[in-house]
Amino acid sequence: MKVIVPVKRVPDTAGEKVIDESTNTMDRDAGETVLCPVNEFAIEEAVKLKESTGAEVTVLLIGPEEAQSTIRKALSYGLDGAIQVTDEAITGSDAIGTARILAAALADVEFDLVIFGNQSTDARTSLVPAAVAELLDLPSLTYARFLEIDGDAITVHREHEEGWDVVESTLPAVVSVVEAINEPRYPNFKGIMAAKSKPLDVKSLADLGVEPDQVGMGDASATMYEFTSRPPKAAGTIVEDDGSGAAASDLADWMEEQKFI
């Protein structure tokens, strides 16, 4: 079985995030970048399939040369190889444009299963997995909190607000996973060392047959045109409890004033 895990390089949530005023897009070089934490659940699930079925797992990343550290990080969990799509025309692609590039890269290789994280920690739209599935004409079994493969049958528990749906389909399929699905392991020293020598296939948009005007800023289907920083919050009221719970009465007063009770 062949599994592809698309991963993303995102700004560290703890770091500063800056919008480039000349392009109205996120300045991706402004702060520390990391492998998106949600991708770790997708990678762990792929590693489990590797252990149980001998699956071959390939990482897929869109991004500039600097993003190769993110690819090596992903590979260090014990994956087999990577595809990187890099092209200047990609800059400023929105979720739909990103999905077009990923779908073109996936159409260019063989796979049985694509495992996404259910959202990236920066844009958090959750649109990409389903859009990729649509472009490839495949089922989108997203928000998986459980996933099981039996031959070419796949069962997924799709999490929602009230619980989950049990859904079934056949491979190939596109899934996205939520963090409830597993507990990611840390890469070990062997994996970190091996990651340096895993094959990396770098492709341009032309290699994938994607026209530059189908992606990037020029073709963004939705554009952000104005942004403001949230004004700093006024300092709140802080009370200290003396161990008797008496402060609860102050809190209840405040809640009453604010009409919450």
Partner: protein, 327 residues
């Protein structure tokens, strides 16, 4: 005149609160553009909801009365909206910015050359175009976006972004329609639906008040206290990642960068220090209350009201206090 379609999110014949909030949003747009507010109900039992949809501003109700709407994954809803796009002039589609519905929007956008803006907190009409406000980077930045000209505009509306506003509207004109599902739409089957948690307790994405517990609870029994407080307030219960990772509460209720993003009117966190990863999921709450032993916990920097103290002293006292005041 076009339709502003509102894809009604519903459960057991009842529209969720966010659906009524979206009708408010659609009505405000329509007041500017002269469009019609049209609710879209996919699946059975719309007849139970006609009145409430009309009372909240739906002038038309497009209804696909077929259990197939929920029998397969995502695509029946996509193809139902396509059927409406084929028959009617549509100005925009509003949908609940929740997990499964975002997939409907994403697939429809690919099929029908759409642009999608998710997690919208406000909508307005400027120079004849609908503009969407959203908050990014954990609420630190507020942006305005619009869908490119000529593309189908799809807006995912956040819960609690708009009020529920009853009008004195009549029952909507009900227009039933059929959908001829493609083979692809039937490729992934919904075998069963597992419901978890209390039916009486609101979901944290939709609740006006959310009570959240973290590492400071010390054990899973602490969540019984959180639920007790929540039930006094009619609140939902959420958790920090430390608490869900420890297995004290289901992951589904995790608030933070890898979990849910919530914007309730009131967030009340106990035993949560407020690390940036947690704040990314709750910073846009309108009011924040924190109860924590550690006076230096970062959550106090964003709290409107903070109690420095042992939550096991303060929360039981608060529950008592709230019960007394309710009597």
């Amino acid at each position: 005149m076009s339709d502003i379609l509102v894809l009604i999110d519903h459960s057991e014949g009842t529209p969720r609160k966010v659906s009524l909030q979206m009708l408010t949003a659609a009505r405000r747009i329509a007041a500017d553009t002269g469009d019609t507010v049209a609710a879209v109900w996919l699946g059975e039992d719309a007849d139970d909801a006609e009145e409430v949809l009309g009372a909240n501003g739906a002038q038309t109700l497009y209804w696909w009365d077929d259990e197939d709407a929920d029998a397969y994954v995502t695509l029946p809803k996509v193809e139902a909206l396509e059927a409406l796009l084929d028959e009617h002039d549509v100005g925009a589609i509003l949908f609940a910015s929740s997990n499964h519905t975002k997939d409907v929007a994403a697939r429809l956008a690919i099929r029908r050359d759409g642009g999608v803006i998710t997690d919208v907190t406000d909508l307005a009409v400027e120079d004849g175009t609908i503009v969407a406000t959203k908050e990014v980077f954990g609420g630190a930045t507020i942006t305005k976006s619009r869908v490119a000209d000529g593309k189908l505009a799809l807006f995912g509306v956040s819960a609690n972004a708009f009020p529920v506003e009853a009008t004195d509207g009549d029952a909507p004109d009900v227009v039933e329609f059929d959908v001829d599902l493609s083979e692809a739409a039937q490729a992934a089957t919904v075998v069963s639906v597992e419901k978890q948690g209390s039916a009486d307790r609101p979901d944290i994405g939709e609740a006006a008040i959310v009570v959240a517990g973290g590492r400071g609870l010390g054990n899973e029994d602490g969540f019984e206290l959180m639920e007790e407080l929540a039930d006094v307030l009619g609140a939902g219960v959420g958790a920090s990642r430390a608490a869900t990772d420890a297995g004290w509460y289901p992951h589904r209720y995790q608030i933070g960068q890898t979990g849910r993003t919530i914007s309730p009117l009131l967030y009340l966190g106990s035993g949560i220090s407020g690390a940036i990863q947690h704040r990314a999921g709750m910073q846009t709450s309108q009011n924040i209350v924190a109860i924590n032993k550690d006076a230096e916990a970062p959550i106090f920097q964003i709290a409107d009201f903070g109690v420095v103290g042992d939550l096991y002293d303060v929360v039981p006292a608060l529950v008592e206090e709230l019960r007394d005041r309710a009597d």
